[in-house]
Amino acid sequence: MLSIEDLCVKIGDKEILKDIHLYIDSGETHVLFGPNGAGKSTLINTILGNPKYEIVSGSIYFKGKDITDMPMYERAKLGIGISYQSPPAIPGVKLKNLLEIITNRDWSEIEKMAEILNFKDFLEREVNVGFSGGEAKRSEILQIYAQNPDFIMFDEPDSGVDVENVELIGTIINELLDKNKMPSDRKKSGLIITHMGHILNFMDVDRAHVLYNGIVACSGHPEEILNNIIKHGYERCVECYQKKEH
């Protein structure tokens, strides 16, 4: 589904990502850990094609196509989607209106999902205007549900979300990523950024990576890596990072 090779990314003059390799197969969901400022959001935005992030070298392939230089909206049309960490407000545009524009599903399905997310009252509200942190996350989930992409990136879908809603969002994401289907029937792929790990209790993830200072310092079994981070913080990752730097 997605394959990244030798990716180096700059913002302005600052080098943020270094030699990233990442391979996510069809039906797989990966999780991305890493301390604040490690470059997690940068990686996601680069995959999306945000022109603010300058690709210095390397390539991104999606569904077998080289999308390294493809404009953002074409990537979206090709099936890449995102649920943002902190989405901007679009004053004057109703959420309902935006959903109608981006949707690839019937309106009745969206209404049903809005109901499940306890978000029906927000359809008439302006997109993200005055939304609380947790409300903005639910708005993102609803939009991504409407858009229904094949590869979905979730940038901290759980941060600022209360306990009940973390379970709700986790369960919905799991469903969106085909995890309730038999492994061979799974078509969707995902990449999830989380600090908390709690959301993973409601999801099935296949592989985890730790991004440290712009480098993938470690990849492996999600539970193992999470337990390590919980026990030792990112201390162990520093060691791996230093090994990889050289």
């Binding site: 945000n50 404009p71 407000a89 679009i90 004057g92 858009q147």
Partner: protein, 406 residues
């Protein structure tokens, strides 16, 4: 009629200002615009030719008159049609001057102090006179339209609206230039009186065309507990508009809202202001202006709040988007306080479309053009407050139509 002394006085002042340019806006040579005398008259808006009819519809006028409490149509300087079947009194101002003494209403709120007001005072001028009797609350809107139908001519208008004590009125005014007219001038004097406990909602849609100069001169007087709401929408090209309506909140607890939505394109030059003088205790004002400039257009968005009494409150919100390097946008918010115990605020912001909004929508699959257009629609989508739903809808539609066409 006017009393002899008053008529003389007005004439005397107007003569003095015959050639005096206005402080704002491009100076216009009035000699280039003749004053058309004759014109048609009709018994129903349906009798108008197709060109006029479709023009009227495009500026929100219901030509079948199914959803209006009455209609007034003026082409050039002649009242072509004026009819209402509600309790509201409506007639051409020329008739009102025969019927009533208007000493207290004519040239009372608008000063003659430039060549445009002078022309309206001295030359052939027509307009609507509307009076809502005490206690009459008309919920269905009244529609008035002012059309320029003759080449290189000057339309001179003088309007008066009086909403008597406890009465309510909703007016929509559509202004346009006939499609075949290449150049024109509109001078429009409007004086509105909102008496005690009364309410006037006035919605104006301009569609003048790229070669028409427009010089409105408006004054509004609001008594105790009175409410005045103005919605002004201009979405199409114009050669120049310069206006600076002033509302006087004289009564205690009186309230004013000015909402301006302007989309400047082509070579349009607009100098749009609104001023509120808060002299009644607890009076308040809200001014919202949303402007966009593209191409070579130029907009100056002015706002001026004057607090002259205790506990008055005023807020001025002025936002502008500039979408072309050849365009020009200038926001001039002014606050003036003459008492300690008051609260006047403003926020102004001009700039380009926020990159993060654009990226957000594009990552959902919208092309750049689609994203820009959606952001612009949202930006201009001020809540057209106080309008009956149907009218609000049609204002919204007019905005969408013009945006989609561009």
């Amino acid at each position: 009629m006017l009393s002899k002394e008053r008529a003389l006085k007005i004439k005397e002042i107007a003569e003095k200002y015959r050639n005096v340019p206005a402080p704002y806006g491009e100076d216009i040579n009035l000699e280039e615009y003749k004053i058309e005398k004759g014109g048609i008259s009709v018994d129903s808006l349906m009798e108008l030719d197709e060109g006029y009819k479709s023009k009227l519809e495009s500026i929100g006028i219901d030509i079948e008159e199914k959803t209006s409490a009455g209609s007034y149509l003026q082409i050039n300087n002649k009242a072509v049609y004026s009819k209402t079947d509600s309790k509201i009194e409506m007639m051409p101002i020329s008739e009102a001057l025969k019927k009533y003494n208007l000493d207290d209403y004519l040239w009372n709120l608008v000063e003659i102090k430039d060549k445009y007001t002078a022309r309206a005072a001295l030359e052939l001028t027509e307009g609507f006179f509307i009076r809502v009797p005490k206690g009459v609350k008309e919920t269905i809107p009244l529609q008035t339209c002012l059309l320029i139908g003759e080449e290189s001519s000057s339309q001179n208008v003088h309007n008066i609206i009086i909403v008597e004590e406890g009465a309510e009125l909703n007016v929509i005014t559509g202004c346009a230039t006939s499609p075949h007219v290449k150049s024109g001038l509109h001078i429009g004097v409007s004086e509105f009186y909102v008496k005690k406990d009364a309410k006037l909602t006035y919605t104006m849609i301009h569609d003048w065309g790229e070669n028409t100069h427009v010089r409105p001169r408006t004054g509004v007087y609001i008594e105790e507990n009175g409410v005045f709401i103005s919605n002004y929408v201009v979405m199409t090209e114009v050669k120049s508009i310069q206006s600076y309506p002033t509302a006087y909140c004289v009564g205690d607890n009186s309230k004013v809202t000015f909402q301006t939505v302007a989309y400047g394109k082509g070579n349009s030059k607009m100098d749009l202001g609104s001023r509120v003088v808060l002299s009644g205790k607890n009076s308040s004002a809200d001014m919202i202006s949303r402007t966009i400039v593209v191409d070579n257009a130029e907009i100056i968005a002015r706002g001026h709040l004057v607090g002259e009494s205790e506990n008055v409150k005023g807020h001025l919100e002025c936002r502008g988007l500039i979408l072309s390097d050849n365009a020009h946008l200038h926001a001039v918010p002014e606050l003036e306080a003459k008492r300690t115990n008051l609260d006047l605020t403003h926020e102004a912001a001009v700039g380009k479309i926020a990159e993060n909004q654009l990226m957000y929508l594009m990552s959902r699959g919208l092309t750049e053009d689609e994203a820009v257009s959606l952001i612009i629609k949202g930006f201009l989508n001020v809540d057209v407050s106080g309008l009956p739903p149907k009218l609000a809808k049609s204002v919204e539609q007019i905005m969408e139509m013009t945006l989609d066409a561009s």
